[in-house]
């Protein structure tokens, strides 16, 4: 099983503006962490750094108690973490080919790919869309393809950036359901969202990003749980 990955004293700077300054953030195997925060608070920046897609100006990455330089950390993170964009990009291919992409990249034999893809299509309730061009799907369907495409390569960590943004209620419900299934299958998940409540009962950690600074809200103690709920309620009110 993949060990924890910690990020210490991470800083991302654009021009002379410090966009992100995180003292400590850990992704632990089998856990689900939720990151909330206002727009522009640095959620996407943090998640892209955590998936090795964006280089921080400062900070260290620790894996298995070993501190890694960014060049090494980057390739490890890209191997272990799958990052799902807020609006997932669909390759200009069929749904089948999109889902098979990661397996083909890993040079898995064709027969095995076929078997895995068909099983995954069924998991994502995408059987009826198998041969459709993925670019022409609705937002909810694209998100399901993206989740299935990520799940099939069995990543150590799955990072979801605002997975339900600009979706209708039905698509949101389907996405929650798939994320729950992933969590039950034991996948390590980090999710950033404004829509906190549906994830309330599956998360192990709740982080709150405020102007680039990350605070963990301890959801285990009664008083902190109350605070966590307050944050949740405030967000729901803002959303509505």
């Amino acid at each position: 099983m993949t060990g924890s990955i910690s990020f210490e004293n991470i800083e991302k700077i654009y021009g002379d503006r410090v966009l992100l300054s995180v003292d400590s953030f850990t992704m632990a195997p089998g856990e689900c962490a939720l990151i909330s925060g206002d727009n522009g608070s640095g959620k996407t920046t943090l998640l892209k750094i955590a998936s090795g897609l964006l280089k921080p100006e400062k900070g260290i990455v620790i894996k298995n108690q070993i501190s890694l330089p960014w060049a090494k950390a980057k390739s490890r993170l890209q191997r272990l973490v799958v990052y799902l964009h807020q609006t997932p990009y669909m390759f200009d291919k069929s749904v089948y080919d999109n889902i098979a992409y990661g397996l083909r990249t890993a040079k898995i034999p064709k027969a095995q790919i076929d078997e895995h893809v068909w099983r995954s299509l069924h998991w994502g309730r995408l059987d009826h869309l198998t041969h459709r061009n993925a670019k022409l799907l609705s937002g909810g369907e694209k998100q399901r393809v993206a989740l299935t495409r990520a799940r099939i390569i069995k990543p150590g960590f799955l990072i979801l950036d605002e997975p339900t943004a600009s979706m209708d209620r039905r698509s949101r419900q389907q996405t929650y359901q798939l994320v729950r299934q992933l969590q039950q299958e034991g996948m390590s998940i980090v999710v950033s969202t404004h829509d906190i409540e549906p994830f309330f009962d599956i998360i192990d950690h709740h982080y709150y990003l405020e102007a680039g600074h990350l605070h963990e809200i301890d959801i285990r103690s009664r008083s902190q749980r109350k605070k966590h709920k307050t944050v949740v309620t405030t967000f729901q009110r803002r959303e509505n």
Binding site: K48, S51, G52, L53, Q78, R79, V81, V82, Y83, H85, T87, P88, Y89, F91, D92, Y101, G102, T105, A106, N133, L136, R149, A150, I153
Partner: protein, 232 residues
């Protein structure tokens, strides 16, 4: 005006009468230009990708240079290649002057900045999310690069078509380094130039029509491929 119509009529007769000399010229033209574009395309696309996605010193200078090279006349390219390949030139021992290989080299040099500059523009505005999605799904750098290129393939194809159209119609370089030798290095543009100077307009017009039909065909092909994608 009557002369023009008579010349066009004669040109059509020449084209459809399977005149062997005319079709040989057309064959040489296609053979040389297709080889040039096939050899130079992979290098140009890779270079364009590095300019669009890489971060290195001198990048801006190289981009400006590519755009400047777009304006270099074919005859200047021809002259440069001529100097290199002439008997006293640095590559004179290869004895390539007045051969199809020399014409291919000249056309490759002409096509390179066109494919690079146009592909660079296409790749630079392509969605960075394509690269990130490919990388996060485990693609190596070359595989992610090919994925990005596949996603913007119509733009890249248009760049290649533009370069091909330029080189198959250029006369300066082919004339200088090919020498317009019948059965060997006479292609459509050099033949048109020669026939026109002799006052033989019919053959010139016939060859010009071939170039026009080619341009139309390539554009129709590109348009239909794009249409098929959009309505898939």
């Amino acid at each position: 005006m009557q002369d023009l119509f008579a010349a066009i009529r004669e040109a059509l007769v020449l084209l459809f009468s399977a005149n062997p000399e005319l079709w040989e010229i057309i064959g040489i033209s296609f053979s040389v230009s297709l080889q040039a574009i096939i050899y130079i395309t992979p290098v140009s696309l890779l270079f364009a990708f590095l300019l669009a996605y890489g971060r290195f010193k001198g990048q801006r200078f190289l981009i400006s240079t590519m755009h400047t090279l777009l304006a270099v006349p074919a005859v200047v390219v021809g002259l440069t290649v001529y100097i290199f390949l002439s008997r006293n030139g640095p590559l004179g021992d290869l004895r390539l002057l007045f051969t199809q290989t020399a014409m291919i080299i000249g056309q490759m040099i002409l096509a390179f900045p066109i494919v690079v500059a146009m592909s660079h523009s296409v790749l630079r505005i392509s969605d960075r999310v394509i690269w990130e999605t490919a990388k996060t799904l485990g693609a190596s750098h070359p595989k992610a690069m090919l994925t990005v290129m596949h996603e913007v393939r119509f733009g890249l194809f248009a760049a290649i078509v533009a370069a091909f159209s330029r080189i198959i119609a250029e006369v300066g370089s082919s004339m200088m380094v090919g020498g317009n030798i019948l059965h060997h290095t006479r292609n459509i543009p050099t033949a048109i130039a020669m026939e026109t100077s002799k006052g033989e307009f019919a053959q010139g017009i016939a060859l010009g029509l071939v170039l026009l039909v080619l341009a139309l065909g390539l554009n129709l092909l590109l348009g239909s491929a794009r249409y098929r994608l959009e309505t898939a």
